[in-house]
């Protein structure tokens, strides 16, 4: 799931070198929670109008986690 979100976010921003995707510890073993950080100027490129890009990233993140039998959650930190 980390690889999937990193691939997508890097492809969407102007500064792929500043993309940071970090898995956050959770108290549930079946839950993968990722925190995504991008350059301040790229924030809009991963959120989109009305959060549409962020929603699509979350949907794909959920699918990638489901493939591993887990639940996935993507947090975009700005």
């Amino acid at each position: 799931m980390n690889e999937v979100i990193t691939l997508l976010v890097r492809a969407l921003v102007d500064h792929p070198d500043q993309v940071e995707v970090k898995q956050v510890e959770t108290d549930r073993r079946d839950l993968i929670r990722l925190e995504v950080r991008v350059a301040a100027s790229d924030t809009g490129k991963v959120i989109g109008k009305h959060g549409r890009i962020a929603a699509a990233l979350r949907a794909v993140g959920r699918a990638a986690a489901a493939r591993q039998g887990k639940r996935g959650f993507v947090d975009i930190v700005s």
Binding site: R52, R62, R67
Partner: protein, 163 residues
């Protein structure tokens, strides 16, 4: 004939850019599929995932395949510098969905005729809204239009009143 080494041409065809990225993305998700690219007569690029894992791609209510389609479109715009109409398909999902939406449109149209009340459908993406509009285009008793803003834009089926 001299075998002269040609540098690999830089691919700028937006369909190929889209197909390559989709292939990379689906592999990263862990799916064993091959993406086939087809350009339809209306200019739409169809990217069809074929293989044992293709049925995983649609997801609940098409949420996964539609999110993938949207993101691949954004990435293609960035990489190829132009917007293209593209459809991501897998396991015949789009054809099955078209049939479902067409049947649903006719059922709601029948209800609108019976009650004389207009009917607002659940939000659909532009491609799916077009299927609903097309399904009822030839129905003399109803008209259809869309209202609301993306991504919550909905088709409305309304009785066609005599002028």
């Amino acid at each position: 004939m001299t075998a002269r080494e040609q540098p690999a041409p830089v691919t700028t065809d937006p369909g190929t850019v889209a197909a390559d990225f989709l292939q990379e993305l689906l592999e990263a998700i862990g799916l064993h599929v091959e993406v086939e690219l087809d350009r339809r007569p209306d200019g739409t690029y169809w990217l069809t995932a074929i293989g044992p894992d293709a049925d995983f791609i649609p997801g609940p209510n098409g949420s996964t395949i539609n999110a993938i389609q949207y993101l691949v479109g954004l990435v293609t715009l960035r990489r190829a510098g132009q917007y293209i109409r593209l459809v991501v398909d897998a396991d015949n999902y789009r054809a099955r969905r078209e049939q479902t939406l067409t049947e649903m449109a006719r059922q709601y149209a029948a209800q609108v005729k019976r009650t004389g009340q207009e009917c607002v459908l659940d939000p659909l993406n532009p491609f799916e809204r077009r299927i609903v509009h097309t399904a009822l285009l030839d129905d003399p008793d109803v008209i259809t239009y869309s209202e609301g803003d993306e991504p919550d834009r909905c088709v409305v089926i309304s009785p066609r009143r005599p002028a």
